[in-house]
Amino acid sequence: MSSDQLQRLKPGQSPHEPEKATLEGKNKFLGFWFFLGGETVLFASLFGTYLALNGPESNTSGPGPAELFGLELVFIMTVILLTSSLTSVYAIYHMKNLDFGKMQLWLGITVALGLTFLGLEIYEFYEYIMHEEHTFTSDAFGSAFYALVGFHGGHVLFGLLWIVTLMVRNSKRGLNLYNAPKYYIASLYWHFIDVVWVFIFTVVYLMGKLGG
């Protein structure tokens, strides 16, 4: 890393795309998309498992998908996560204008929304486990459900820790060519979490409600 990379960027300066101005940034960008391709396959195996194990044969104890899921909570969670995706777009918008303060502010809003989502998911799981007898070990449907939705929740938690770490680590440094790519790929990760959630609310909750 050269010392140029650590020079603080301020509004009014170039470059236009600080996340791809260095070779290191370009490599991070490519490497991260490669990782996302792998994540797609990983989640597909969990979705495949869930789709194979959500029928009545594997639902031997506790309620099935149609009785279990409440669409109100899922809808609220969906809107919250979708909005957090938009707020991280705002953060990257301000990064491209080299406005560090506003970028941190919008990332802070993203983190707050992400925490709300995570809180609601924990509440949902708590209700299922305490009041519905739907646990990880109750039946194959339970295992497949918690493996898929819980793994997504784990990704949300990891994304939150990642963004908070970046925000704290760079709070006094400001934006530079060294950390701009880091912020950029963290936002890509956050969008990817939302991509997975779109399929979860469609395949798990909506199709579960339809009994199909």
């Binding site: 597909a44 809808f75 409600k209």
Partner: protein, 105 residues
């Protein structure tokens, strides 16, 4: 590079970023609408044989918006990311197809 060329190009890109942000907001509005339609169709209890393909299609379109606008895949220089992602999607589809057909067919 002279200082004033920098600030001119800064203003130029700032304007460009602003225009892009407008498209991002339209994208967001469309995604919310798709979500509302998907939930609405399930609540309205249409025939599942009709509802399921439609909500899956809505999910795919919504994810496309997310990838191409929010994650900037519509921008230049995203050839390799597209290759990586579509390879992933190809294997993903095969995986889901294999698991589902083994059990349900």
């Amino acid at each position: 590079m002279a200082k004033n060329t920098n600030s001119t190009s800064y203003e130029f890109y700032k304007q460009k970023n602003k225009e892009e942000m407008k498209y991002q907001l339209i994208t967001f509005a469309l995604m919310i609408i798709f979500t509302l339609v998907a939930f609405g169709m399930v609540i309205a209890e249409y025939n599942p044989m009709f509802t399921i393909p439609v909500i899956i299609l809505l999910a795919c379109v919504q994810v496309g918006f997310q990838l191409y606008y929010f994650m900037h895949m519509s921008h230049k220089g995203h050839g390799l990311p597209a290759l990586f992602l579509y390879s992933g999607i190809f294997v993903a589809l095969l995986t889901v197809l294999a698991m589902v057909t083994i059990v349900w067919w």
